[in-house]
């Protein structure tokens, strides 16, 4: 939708849309004059399509001439239209290919009357022998044309950067605890907390094929004196990874918790997953000064 609104003819103003023919003895044809006005949006786009039969090579030049007939801009197009047979692995057929379109985007700093002229420099068959035939060109000149070349690179670039921004938000903050054990009970101590420092705890769990439908994750936070200031059990349902036969191979589960802990001090985070039998690995990551994209549920804690 957005693409169509960008390339929409809101600013586009057709100046000329016609067929012109270049006779073999003249080698050149000129259109009627049109105005090229300065504008902040878009440019004058000259679009030319050569209508040549199969087996022809054509070199033509698009020229813009000012009111005195002097060339003020020119561009060259090597156009071709060919066909032929192909054979491959016992199969065969014919191919047709052509490249006959040419174009030029022009802007001007002052109002100017210009004419478009098409010059045929070279017109041959595929053997390189000159051909004397009239050539018909479709010419379309529009003003205020927006260059959509930047659109798709822009879409891809901004999408990637947006995803990076989302990813960075999920992993924002300073990681103060990264504890990974091949067991069910990681724990570590770090300096964190404060009134305006959001603490994010990420717990990732990998379980084997004997995992139950639900794990109980016990999270304890204790202050510098060893006093437990937070002790809660969080039930989580793991994601079941099954093999082709539908048999459970392994499970993964993750839990994300947010805390505001006062004051800034040393705190110990300890996690224990129950039942611990099926647990292959548990990772605890704690970050301070974390940020979130959407509002989240935050547990307020105060050490005495």
């Amino acid at each position: 939708m957005f693409y169509f609104s960008l390339s929409s003819p809101a600013y586009r103003q057709g100046m000329l849309a016609t067929y012109i023919t270049v006779e073999p003895d003249e080698r050149e044809a000129v259109t009627s004059p049109f105005m090229l006005n300065p504008s902040d949006v878009g440019a004058l786009r000259v679009f030319v399509k050569a209508n040549i039969p199969e087996g022809r090579w054509l070199t033509y030049e698009i020229q813009l001439r000012d009111a005195q007939g002097e060339v003020v801009a020119a561009a060259l197009k090597e156009a071709w239209h060919e066909s032929g047979p192909w054979y491959e692995d016992g199969e065969s057929g014919t191919w047709h290919e052509s490249d006959v379109r040419g174009g030029l985007d022009v802007r001007s700093r002052q109002p100017e009357t210009v004419t478009l002229s098409l010059a045929v420099l070279d017109y041959t068959n595929t053997a390189g022998q000159g051909i004397d035939e009239p050539i018909s060109f479709w010419v379309d000149v529009s003003n205020g044309v927006v260059d959509t070349t930047y659109f798709w690179p822009g879409v891809v670039g901004t999408t990637l950067l947006s995803l990076l921004a989302l990813w960075a938000t999920r992993h924002s903050g300073d990681q103060v605890i990264v504890a990974s054990v091949e067991d069910s009970d990681p724990s570590d101590r770090a300096i964190l907390g404060g009134a305006d420092s959001l603490v994010r705890a990420d717990i990732d769990i990998w379980g084997d094929e004997t995992s139950p439908q639900q794990f109980q994750v016990q999270v304890n936070i204790s202050d510098g004196n060893g006093t437990v200031i937070h002790s809660q059990e969080y039930p989580i349902r793991p994601t079941m990874h099954k093999d082709d036969g539908g048999k459970l191979e392994r499970t993964t589960a993750s839990l994300k918790l947010f805390f505001l802990i006062q004051p800034l001090s040393s705190y110990r985070f300890s996690v224990e997953v129950l039942p611990d039998g099926p647990i292959d690995r548990t990772t605890l990551t704690v970050a301070r000064d974390a940020r979130t994209r959407l509002p989240v549920k935050v547990t307020q804690l105060k050490a005495v």
Partner: protein, 74 residues
């Protein structure tokens, strides 16, 4: 980090929109520093020197295009 990525995103979007609408790649008449403005495999056949269009030497000695189909070069 997030804020920098968000900032880059906005800057890139602005550059793309500006380039498209302002037609930064268009040829500006009588401007020696402008882009060629050519499209669809068209090539520029000259340039400005002192505000006057001068055809390139390849334009003047032209006549050797050998076609571009799949058979080219075989």
């Amino acid at each position: 980090m997030s804020r920098y990525f968000a900032l880059f995103t906005v800057v890139l979007a602005f550059i793309c929109l500006y380039s498209g609408y302002a037609q930064r790649s268009a040829l500006v008449l009588r401007d020696e520093g402008s882009s060629s403005g050519t499209r669809y495999g068209t090539t520029s056949s000259g340039r400005y020197r002192g505000g006057v269009w001068v055809s390139s030497p390849t334009r003047q000695t032209y006549g050797s295009f050998r076609g571009g189909g799949p058979g080219a070069g075989k």
